[in-house]
Assembly symmetry: none
Homo-oligomer: 408 residues x 2
Amino acid sequence: MKILMVIVDGMADRDVNGTTPLKSARTPNLDRLAEMGINGIMDTIGPGVRPGSDTAHLSILGYNPFEYYTGRGPIEACGAGIEVRPGDIAFRVNFGTVDGKGSVFDKRVVDRRAGRIQEKEELVRAINQKVKIDGVDFILGNASGHRAALVFRGEGLSDRITDSDPKNEGDRVGRVMALDQSAEHTAKIVNEFIEKSHQVLENHPLNAERERMGLPKANVLLLRGVGKAVHVPKFHERYGLKMAVIAGTTLIKGIGRLIGADVIENERFTGSKNTDLGLKVETALKSLETHDLVLLHIKAPDEFGHDGDFDGKREFIERVDSELEPIVNLDFSEVCLTVLSDHTTPVTARDHTADPVPVMIVCEGVRRDDVREFNEYRVYRGGLCRIKGLDLMNILLDLTGKSKKFGA
Amino acid sequence: MKILMVIVDGMADRDVNGTTPLKSARTPNLDRLAEMGINGIMDTIGPGVRPGSDTAHLSILGYNPFEYYTGRGPIEACGAGIEVRPGDIAFRVNFGTVDGKGSVFDKRVVDRRAGRIQEKEELVRAINQKVKIDGVDFILGNASGHRAALVFRGEGLSDRITDSDPKNEGDRVGRVMALDQSAEHTAKIVNEFIEKSHQVLENHPLNAERERMGLPKANVLLLRGVGKAVHVPKFHERYGLKMAVIAGTTLIKGIGRLIGADVIENERFTGSKNTDLGLKVETALKSLETHDLVLLHIKAPDEFGHDGDFDGKREFIERVDSELEPIVNLDFSEVCLTVLSDHTTPVTARDHTADPVPVMIVCEGVRRDDVREFNEYRVYRGGLCRIKGLDLMNILLDLTGKSKKFGA
């Protein structure tokens, strides 16, 4: 029996005049599935704990985020295809533009995204080849747009350091500072890297060309979200299951790679409103033939939440519902389906909140409840009551006959 | 956004012929609030764990009682206005009357409350001034009626000792015993204190006067509820919120002082049936102007529970409901209200039980459920399902936009 996990990012909401985007959306397929299954609400991490998408997904997949989440850097580095090892420190990176004289730390950031540069493989390669730092290795990994990820590998590295990204344009590049004594060596190394990579970028022919074309030079790496990688057991080792991730978002792909899942790439999976939902569903169903657990991630409802766009969110949820139609016709004696939101992103709060999310499970044998509508106002009366994200995998393993008995 | 927490002590009950005092009470205001909010049941500490009011309140305020509760002594000492420090050992104290010859430990307790003595500041002052114990400091703090609190401060004190209060009149004053070897030094000190304070009291002019008037002498301190104080982080440090406590009960005021809240005193807040409920509600609403979180504590329903008085409890709950009327008209986009009981005090059990308590939360954005009556038989069907006391603060912080995101 296979497992299909459909995670609709930020789909859940709070009350707006007695309704929510999900409640007011026409969702015949989700409602039909709710009717066929068991429903409830879920605290992805814990009651009152506001999840990020990264910590929420770790928890849903059975990885306690308080143990395995060490900041965004290591996950972005995995997402950028770097094989991160325990003890590495990793950063999210922007290619940016600085202007001024002297050291990189005397210069001001004039564009945090270097004119949203797209093609920068050459620059990444040049830094990886030309920058040398005594006593430490580094890997710069390319990512989409102006983004990259950076990993340092060596003895005694610490993530107790500040960002170099000043966040505000017009400010100077931040000199990385140690937050405690044990991190002084690391701060020195990272600052040396920022200076040396700036020299390589400043003198690179691609930037001379950009200057001629009137484009901002991509002449600085801005570092943030540092985290020290810990050992994360692979999903197949932990559960004996081969897992696939269908996602457009780097962060979720990063989570997938972090736990050793196969990330199915397609440029039409954009992680945004213009994604090819139909193709994602089709790919998910096809992946069920080759994998034991397929995670289908749909990002856009969260974006509408962040934008405060009630109608946009409702309409996109209706699109999601409509594209989920093939899933209604699955053979639930062969597939165990769960549909849920990773966290609540209210259009009123425009950010994640800790309100519990709706969750349903459909599979043969599950105790069907009398919930007939999949929304925040109905599912809490369902047969699952209120569960925790960290328990979901165990529940799914049990329903699919994959769990071990504890005792006799 | 402010938080108003209305805690009705021991309001919840068990089934008596299909009803409870709360269910049978006419409570239009509580019912209206339930309708406007989200409802559920709550295990203040944990399912099946019978809470005291002290441990329940700690838990509700986000302080794990298994970590921060070390006996009644330290809380009563805070309530008596003593600044308790980690490592101190503290006791609840009764002024009592002993009769007999020789050492205090040879004498019998003839009145555990010294004729319910009221004015005893002079005696407290005399003991603080005249009793000296080598190698240790002590503070005796006055409290209401025959009550006081006592703190010892010094190296290596232990709370692994027995009470001196024999509980039964006619018994001898108990010699404090060490429960393990590490407490032998402490037991010796405490016994020395009991003897010396007895001498001071016995010879005090106030007791000579009481004897002349035919009143029992207040000539002994009876110690119980010992606990060793631990470091308790202040509420405003922990949550960044300025907190006020409106309560008549010393124990709840003690909890407030323990966590650094402002305790709003008024002699009309009696912590009993004759309290001025209207003034308490008015004071709570006024305190919302100066504080971020206001805890309004109402004690009497618990007393009716302990007395086994079903009708008295029902009638008092109706009075509470009627006095809560101004709260119904609050602007819930500015105030997040929670109403709950700290524990169940069934009129049948005449003591606290572990049955979960009703809880409601009213504020803008909360997912309103279809609970229309606030009682033990309705709220469990509400949108909160079943939560834990220790999670309540996080839920309130999230609903009022005060919590931090964990992850990205």
